[in-house]
């Protein structure tokens, strides 16, 4: 057992408690800036430690934590998202006067995600998922004076708790079938068996797919997504759609590609169907949305579908493609949300598509980043979104699921309908003179996040080879390499 390898998680957890206490200190500076600084320093330190421990698997706490390349790669994804979100929320009304709570909730959520990424045990996995969710329930409702924020939090809580119960029941059945909660032992116990004559495993597979599908907001378990995304403070929405999605996919990969790999032939189809449903429902529903946050919510449903293709393929190659696409998805979504956040500061109806009218012409750099993000989300070559989809569809073809690749391709065409609409409005639209300006100072750090995300979209495509190498070795470590 090597406790040192768990330092990234411990650092983030410690950062969460420290920044909570910082908010209580009597000095004004410590109250206002302390929590943010502590959070950022903690996250950076955790990122450094993740890179330091990049290497072979270390099993901590009797094998309930698997510190391997997979968990380290995901740590980087979560940490990047958390840092970006903290930078994006510097002037967020929900965070003012409660910096401590805000930063510590984000860090707690991040720690939960890191637990999910490193989970070698169903209990750890469940605790991680709940830790990240419970923190997010609060964050979604953080602007308690705003009815919609409350509604968003309460809805997320109730529907989320149902989702958690379904997932938990699935875990219980899996434990009942195999007698262990360790993923490695589950894999051993299931080797050579099929679902025939095993009702417990059967039920477990269905319920776990549904429960994790809920967290990843894949159809038909996605319906909370647009409502919660719209009502929550926008930086939190950005966090949910990037980091939570990554955590859910990590859980999928840990449980299915890692633990249940022996019965892959039995579950690949239902995950494929969930993926297809998410692609179709998300892309179609997004067509008629006028609110950017809702539009991006439905788009994230569709993206969850693409990501699940790699899980459905049930292979190392599929896991590699999913990991690469998670990276690409992270930066393109952050770019899109950063621009929404900037607009929200500037105008009153900032989260609508109409608020972007002509914006790209006035701020060409942001316009270029928005263009990169939208085209990349739509899978336009040669951006990283295209490369990721290419690999995902390729893994589906390789796994004899050509139909899934075709549905993904059709979904991409449909998605152009709304991504292009956003771009059309941003470049070609004109904002009516009467439109109300809010006139708040636009956050500089949000601009920084925007530009950095834009560069990352390009960089991930240009430097695809080393990134893919990292993804491949992370995917291989899922199966114990």
């Amino acid at each position: 057992m090597n406790l040192a390898a768990t330092t990234p998680i411990l650092i983030v957890g410690a950062g969460a408690t420290i920044s909570l206490s910082m908010g209580l200190l009597p000095w004004r500076f410590a109250q206002r800036h302390g929590p943010t600084i502590v959070a950022l320093v903690g996250l950076l330190a955790a990122a450094v430690m993740s890179l330091v421990f990049w290497g072979d698997r270390i099993e901590a706490f009797d094998g309930s934590l698997h510190i391997d390349r997979f968990s380290m790669l995901l740590n980087l994804i979560f940490i990047t998202a958390a840092i970006a979100v903290i930078l994006l929320s510097i002037r967020e009304p929900g965070a003012v006067d409660r910096r401590g709570e805000y930063a510590s909730l984000i860090l707690f959520s991040t720690a939960g995600m890191m637990l999910v990424g490193a989970a070698g045990d169903l209990i750890v996995l469940f605790v991680g998922i709940e830790l990240l969710s419970v923190a997010l329930y609060v964050l979604a409702a953080l602007e308690v004076w705003r009815e919609r924020s409350l509604e968003s939090g309460l809805k997320y809580l109730i529907v989320g708790a149902v989702g958690s119960s379904i997932l938990l029941y699935g875990f219980a059945l899996l434990y009942g079938a195999t007698g262990t909660t360790r993923l490695g032992e589950i894999a051993e116990a299931l080797s050579g068996s099929t679902l025939t004559g095993e009702p417990l495993v059967f039920g477990a597979v269905v319920l776990i797919v549904a429960g994790l599908g809920f967290k990843a907001s894949a159809a038909p378990f996605h319906m909370w997504t647009p409502d919660v995304y719209e009502g929550a403070p926008t930086p939190i929405t950005a966090f949910m759609s990037t980091a939570t999605k990554a955590a859910a996919l990590a859980a999928f990969l840990r449980v299915f590609t890692g633990g249940l790999v022996e019965i892959e032939a039995d579950w690949d189809l239902i995950i494929g169907v969930v993926a297809a449903a998410a692609i179709i429902v998300g892309n179609i529903a997004a067509l008629v949305q006028d609110n950017m946050k809702r539009l991006l919510a439905y788009s994230s449903v569709a993206q969850a579908g693409y990501l699940l293709i790699g899980v459905a393929a049930g292979s190392i190659q599929g896991a590699e493609a999913t990991l690469y696409y998670l990276l690409a998805y992270l930066v393109m979504t952050l770019a899109a949300f950063a621009i929404v956040i900037i607009r929200e500061r500037e105008v009153i109806d900032g989260d609508t598509v109409g608020a972007l009218a002509g914006y790209a012409r006035r701020r060409p750099v942001h316009g270029a980043v928005l263009t990169l993000a939208m085209l990349s989300l739509a899978g336009f070559p040669p951006l990283s979104g295209f490369l990721g989809k290419f690999l995902l569809f390729g893994s589906a073809v390789e796994a004899d699921m050509i139909w899934l690749a075709v549905i993904g391709a059709i979904g991409s065409i449909i998605s152009l309908g709304y991504y292009l609409r956003v771009l059309g409005v941003a470049w070609f639209g004109d904002r009516p003179q009467s439109a109300a300006e809010q006139g708040l100072e636009s956050p500089r750090l949000a601009g920084l996040v925007t530009v950095a995300s834009g560069l990352a979209i390009v960089a991930l495509a240009v430097a695809a080879s080393p990134v893919l190498d990292a993804c491949r070795s992370a995917a291989e470590s899922l199966l114990g390499a």
Binding site: T17, L20, L24, A177, T178, E185, S193, G197, P199, V201
Partner: protein, 131 residues
């Protein structure tokens, strides 16, 4: 270890090793859920002002039936639940503390520290004051 998995006979009191259990699950769950869902729909629903009034032996109620609890009541209750259940974890730790050695003690201290910090937070925020 496949034998352990293959032997699901114990799952079912009868020697039916097939899909019967899942079928029974589904039927039982379906019947309960279906009954509760449909029963409410069967009867006619005609709410009226008279029906909505609380029944107090035929006399009109003098005070509102629903008394509102103070918010502080909920606060205290919530805090109690959380700390109560957190501390329940101390029991299993206590059982194995001797075997776990130094590491167990450290883990225990970390746990207690976290709980105490939460308590300090709650205290500082004034949630323990009863107004």
């Amino acid at each position: 270890m496949p034998a352990a998995v293959a032997g699901v006979g114990w799952l079912c009191p009868m020697e039916l090793n097939d899909y019967l259990p899942i079928l029974v699950f589904l039927v039982a769950g379906g019947v309960i859920a279906g009954a509760l869902l449909t029963l409410g729909l069967l009867g006619p629903r005609r709410p009226s002002a008279v029906k909505e009034t609380p029944y107090e032996s035929g006399i009109l109620g003098a005070t509102p039936v629903r008394q509102r609890f103070s918010i502080d009541f909920y606060m205290t209750a919530m805090l109690f639940i959380v700390f109560d259940i957190e501390l329940a974890f101390l029991y299993p730790i206590a059982v194995t503390l001797r075997d776990d050695g130094m590491l167990g003690l450290i883990v225990l201290l970390v746990f207690v520290f976290t709980v105490v910090e939460a308590l300090v937070y709650v205290w500082k925020k004034g949630a323990l004051e009863w107004r």
